[in-house]
């Protein structure tokens, strides 16, 4: 079982059990998504304040629109990135290997002569000491980053204070500010300026020449999470794809959407919808990531999806071929047919019954006529039913209503037997056996 072996290599919070750092089981648990059980990948906050991987919660909301933990309704558009947790997870994951290696290393070397019971006590300071040492080595980069971030904040604070000072700060340049537009000019120019060129309000351009950068830093600080924006100006995250109401979309339009996205437009309608939805989910989840994957990688992910869940999944293909129009994902056609077999029969029986009733209502004498059909002696009674039947035939063949009067009654005198030769007659024989049983039942 190669697959199982592969799967066993995945890390798990229980890795800490049996080590001196067993307390980290709970810590690690809190860094893992409840849906995929893996470390949070682009954690997102729901409206109900629960956190899941971006792709997990998006898949869940697509499936039933509810939070997996508390079943509260939510929408993809309301998800918000949990950036602090994202950093915490990243830091923990990068430190995990070192910590685990340390935790699994026997600690006997440091205190060989300690009494038996004291060993446990000694473990903890020892642990704490080494723990301090080890992570310091392995997390230097993150420390540096933190320091940079702190410096950045401090810098912003300085800018800030400069800015607040700047409000009533008068540069000693021999100029004065226009009381309205704050442009600086020589004192004697002010009157003329006010009469002619003053725009009537403070000019942003003018002001920003001295305080521009600070304005920008303020703007960035008022953003929801100013603390180290991973790469503020390097790459703009790709645009999210909008959700699609598939019920409103014709086949051709959906295929075009897929083609426009550079995806395969092959397969039954249901697969197209699911492929498109999965791509939108992957794409949007990728937009939440601190390190977005390239498009080619996403396409590979979609290929994996296609082979495991989508159109090329081994268990799915059969069911899909059976009934693409059935929206259920795993449609059990055989069971469905078996289940509805009786209701189909009921429907057929009902239809026959109501048709028979309609026939009987159509002519009060019809019951007599039908009984006459079954009667071997047609002589006197054969007249009315044949008349009735010719009317029906005329409607079906579209021939003029005057037709029954054309052939003389004697020709039809023998009732049904005279008809089979003609086209209309064929229909008559087709109709009569259907109707007869019910006519007999009703008597």
């Amino acid at each position: 079982m190669e697959v199982l072996d592969e799967a066993f290599e995945v890390s798990d919070s229980t890795d800490w059990l049996g080590t001196p750092l067993a307390g980290l089981v709970a810590v690690e648990q809190s860094f893992r998504c409840h849906v995929c059980k893996d470390f949070y990948n682009s954690p997102m906050l729901t409206s109900c304040n629960h956190t899941f991987c971006s792709i997990c919660i998006r898949r869940c909301l697509n499936a039933d629109g509810k939070c997996p933990l508390c079943r509260a309704s939510d929408q993809e558009s309301k998800l918000r990135g949990n950036w602090a947790l994202r950093e915490a997870v990243d830091a923990f994951v990068s430190a995990r290997d070192g910590m685990l290696r340390f935790a699994r290393t026997p600690v006997v070397t440091a205190s060989p002569s300690s009494p038996k019971r004291k060993a446990a006590e000694l473990d903890s300071p020892e642990t704490a000491m080494q723990e301090n040492k080890r992570p310091r080595m392995s997390t230097r980069s993150s420390k540096t980053r933190a320091a940079q971030a702190a410096a950045q904040m401090a810098q912003e604070e300085i800018d800030d204070s400069e800015e607040s000072d700047g409000d009533d700060f008068e540069p000693d340049d021999g100029l004065v500010a226009c009381p309205i537009c704050l442009s600086r000019m020589k004192p004697w120019m002010v009157d003329k300026h006010l009469d002619t060129t003053c725009p009537g309000s403070p000019q942003p351009d003018q002001a920003s020449t001295s305080t521009g950068p600070n304005h920008r830093s303020i703007a960035s600080r008022s953003a929801p999470s100013p603390f180290p924006p991973p790469s503020p100006s390097k790459t703009k995250p790709p645009d999210r794809l909008p959700a699609v109401a598939y019920a409103m979309l014709k086949d051709a339009a959906l295929r075009k959407k897929l083609t426009d996205l550079g995806l395969s437009a092959a397969g039954p309608r249901q697969i197209l919808e699911r492929r498109h939805q999965e791509w939108v989910t992957m794409w949007n989840a990728n937009c939440d990531s601190a390190r977005p994957k390239k498009r080619a990688e996403l396409l590979r992910d979609l290929d994996v999806w296609e082979r495991t869940v989508g159109g090329r999944a081994p268990t799915m293909s059969r069911a899909l071929n059976m009934g693409a129009q059935i929206r259920d994902k795993e449609f059990d056609g055989a069971a469905w047919a078996a289940k509805h077999d009786t209701s189909f029969k009921d429907l057929i029986a009902n239809a026959r019954r109501s048709r028979a009733q309609a026939e009987r209502k159509a002519g009060g004498d019809e019951g007599v006529g039908e009984s006459a059909n079954s009667n071997p002696d047609p002589s006197g009674l054969a007249g009315p039913p044949t008349q009735q039947q010719t009317e029906v035939f005329d409607l079906q063949s579209g021939s003029p209503a005057s037709r029954p009067s054309q052939p003389g009654p004697p020709e039809y005198g023998n009732g049904v037997e005279g008809l089979p030769g003609t086209d209309n007659g064929d229909r008559a024989t087709a109709l009569i056996p259907e109707l007869n049983p019910f006519a007999l039942h009703s008597q």
């Binding site: 799967a7 059990l17 059980k37 893996d38 039933d64 994996v304 495991t308 999944a313 059990d332």
Partner: protein, 157 residues
């Protein structure tokens, strides 16, 4: 099997590892040879006379959309593994439990939590009876459990 591992496989791999490490008392893994079908045994731990000294075999079937979709969970009848008597368990092993339906299922549930729910469902039961209409259902049903529209008439499970 292709090397590609879907999200169901990844998630089940994690669950399996956890299960190998430890399972709550009264729950044992019998076999998990792939990521489609697992068997587990459960026992009721208290002295409920209905289930005393009995072990029951559960079969889990996972779709490729697990855990977005619930697993199919039924009791399996074997010579030494009866179907537990319970007003929500049909004598063919099909379980009427909202947790296992599309509505009651949540992706945060897992194999272990389902087993524990079933354990406590048995523990809390005092009625020595099958669901109403058990015979008819067992005779007529050809649907898979997930396609049955259960009417959850009892919320005191």
């Amino acid at each position: 099997m292709p090397p590609a591992a879907g999200f169901a496989t990844k998630r089940l791999g994690k669950e399996l590892q956890k299960i190998h490490n430890s399972l709550p008392p009264g729950i044992d893994l019998v076999s998990a040879e792939n990521f489609e079908e697992w068997f587990l045994d459960i026992r009721v731990l208290d002295s409920n006379p209905l289930y005393k000294d009995q072990t029951y075999r559960l079969k889990f079937k996972f779709s490729s959309s697990y855990p977005i979709e619930p697993p199919e969970v039924v009791f399996v009848k074997l010579p030494d593994r009866p179907i537990p008597i319970h007003p929500h368990i049909y004598s063919n092993g099909i379980i009427c439990l909202d947790l296992l339906g599309q509505q009651g299922w949540s992706p945060v549930q897992n194999v272990e939590s389902v087993c524990m729910s079933l354990q406590s469902m048995l523990t809390g039961n005092t009625k020595d009876e099958r669901p109403p209409g058990d015979e008819d259902f067992v005779r007529a049903n050809r649907l898979r459990p997930k396609d049955i529209d259960f009417f959850y008439h009892d919320n005191n499970v």
